[in-house]
Subunit: 348 residues, 2 copies
């Protein structure tokens, strides 16, 4: 028997079961006050007709979609792949489905997210911006639920989940200093003047050096450039070619660290014997590179769960939440993960 292409509606089910539309709706939505007989009859009709609720119609009627949008630079960057994984997971636990968008570091694309139609078709948006920042604060005043993820835009007129970037940068440097390194190079300093992850981490790093009375050699600071592996490799190469001889390298993300370690290995420079390297993000890959790379774990799952929780409150799915609450800022704690790229062989 050929399956009919157009699917059955509630009306069809109602007719087949000899009940009204409302009754079918009641059955479908688990309304408790139903006579077992009617319920059975309706369920019978549903399965025999292969009826499924039309989610779009339900959405129209209820004014919500059960969808949230996640906007990241690009999924092929391991950090964002892992972040998306955690967000999809956290959203799923709350019955929400995630719709994905990539902005590929394009400022216009990022601004588009904040335009009024950026929230259409979804109940809310999680946004991980790169080139839209402090200077655009007002653009974040949108009329749909929005939570900023991972970037630090202070005083933005919307909720915001991030990690303690300053303290993270400080911890990176303190770790190397604690291991006796003194000629510390830095890879990943951005040239954007506002409050980016890069500037914050750098702020912490500089503070740690100053606190220890160690001078930061400007010749040992490399950047800017996208935070991807090839750039890490190139910046490391440039440093070495310029005659710089660091004994420790702080990279402001793991991709840069992976590129840097790659370049060092290629040149036969021993890590960490000659140069210790520490990254930032704790992507899975750092644990399986050789040597495994020390890094800062920003608590990706915690960030994702917190961001989804905040968004859910803004959407209005939590009774206990006061909608007049002002913009909130949550800074998640991190931890330093020490591996062989700084510690050396550990009696494997």
């Amino acid at each position: 028997m050929a399956r009919s292409r157009a699917s059955a509606t509630m009306k069809d089910v109602a007719r087949a079961a000899g009940v009204s539309l409302k009754t079918v709706s009641n059955v479908v939505n688990g309304y408790p006050y139903l006579s077992p007989a009617t319920k059975a009859r309706v369920e019978e009709a549903i399965s025999s007709l292969g009826y499924r609720v039309n989610v779009t119609a339900r959405n129209l009627r209820q004014g919500s979609t059960g969808l949230i949008k996640l906007v990241v630079p690009e999924l092929r960057i391991p950090y964002f792949g892992e972040l998306a994984d955690s967000v999809v997971e956290a959203a799923g636990r709350r019955g929400l489905t995630v719709l994905l968008q990539q902005h590929r570091y394009d400022r216009e694309a990022e601004l588009g997210v904040l335009r009024s139609d950026g929230g259409s078709q979804v109940d809310g948006v999680l946004f991980s911006p790169v080139h839209v920042g402090q200077a655009d604060a007002e653009a974040f005043r949108v009329d749909f639920p929005l939570v900023i993820l991972g970037e630090s835009i202070f005083g933005a007129p919307c909720d915001h989940v991030s990690m303690r970037n300053i303290e993270g940068g400080r911890a990176q440097v303190e770790h190397l200093l604690g291991l006796g390194r003194r000629r510390i190079a830095i890879i990943g300093l951005s040239d954007v003047p506002d409050v980016s992850s890069s500037r914050l981490r750098h702020k912490g790093a500089v503070a740690a050096l100053e606190a220890a009375g160690v001078a930061l050699d400007p010749a040992l600071v490399a950047g800017p450039g996208p935070w991807v592996r090839p750039v890490g490799a190139r910046l490391m190469a440039d440093l070495l070619d310029s005659g710089a001889r660091p004994d420790g390298v702080v990279c402001y993300n793991d991709a840069l660290a992976l590129g840097a370690v790659h370049e060092l290995s290629r040149r036969g420079v021993r890590v960490p014997d000659d140069i210790a390297v520490i990254g930032f993000d704790n992507v899975e890959e750092t644990n399986y590179s050789w040597p495994p790379i020390s890094t800062i774990d920003p608590g990706r799952e915690t960030i994702a769960a917190a961001a989804v929780a905040m968004l859910v409150e803004r959407i209005g799915l939590e009774q206990s939440f006061d909608p007049s609450t002002g913009p909130r800022e949550l800074l998640v704690d991190f931890r330093l993960v020490a591996r062989q790229s700084t510690l050396g062989a550990t009696g494997g």
Copy 2:
């Protein structure tokens, strides 16, 4: 002035502009035959009211959502992160938005995708199954547009895009043989009896060995286990601990290869001098590990674009496509990417 929370509808715009609903609709949808005056008046009203089309209502009316669903094991696996990236990109080029779902290798979750409501709220589904395969062929007979991605289920009652797994496995082995390796180990042989990537790649690998008259030592075949880095490391360790002394290792995906190389490096085994290693997938990470790992490039972008194109045809967005077309199977070409894990240092 406080922005009203409930957004304006076409009716509001029509009233404000002193025209009918239909006219507003015409303006919004770019209907060409409009007097410039009316058009201007409507646009004025639209912007002053901050009107945005209600996508849900439009979807209900038009019977489609502009959404497709991508189901993968998990996004934190680099291969699937990169695949999702390409799918989102390809979908975007066709005006479709991607909704994400993870099945985390859970068979029930995979079967759920194929249940009748798996396609609700979306126009079509791209599905990358793992534990649902040949034996479940009939389950793939669903009443929504569906394209299987990357897994080889032959004769399934739906479209299917994959790569030439058998030839890929053969190419891996031939590459090692061509470099003079004879004691070839294999990592990643699955124990599922049906047509999985693993079995197909293995089939090609075995064929290549036989064709060359090289015996495959059963003691050199490792598996099963999830295709992730720690498993690659463990299987490599087990091989070495068992006293096996391969001079080449074929891994059926890159994560296994990365784990294996990691373990070899940890033990001070030289790659490729002592043991050459080749992976499969060409994830970006293989190019930045040390040494860079030779691999098979399955043409991820091509696969994604082809899968989206097929899905678009099934959805009915292509006039030229005959909807009565039977299930199609597309095998994308691959290429071998030779790097230092098999070639050795190349005069860096």
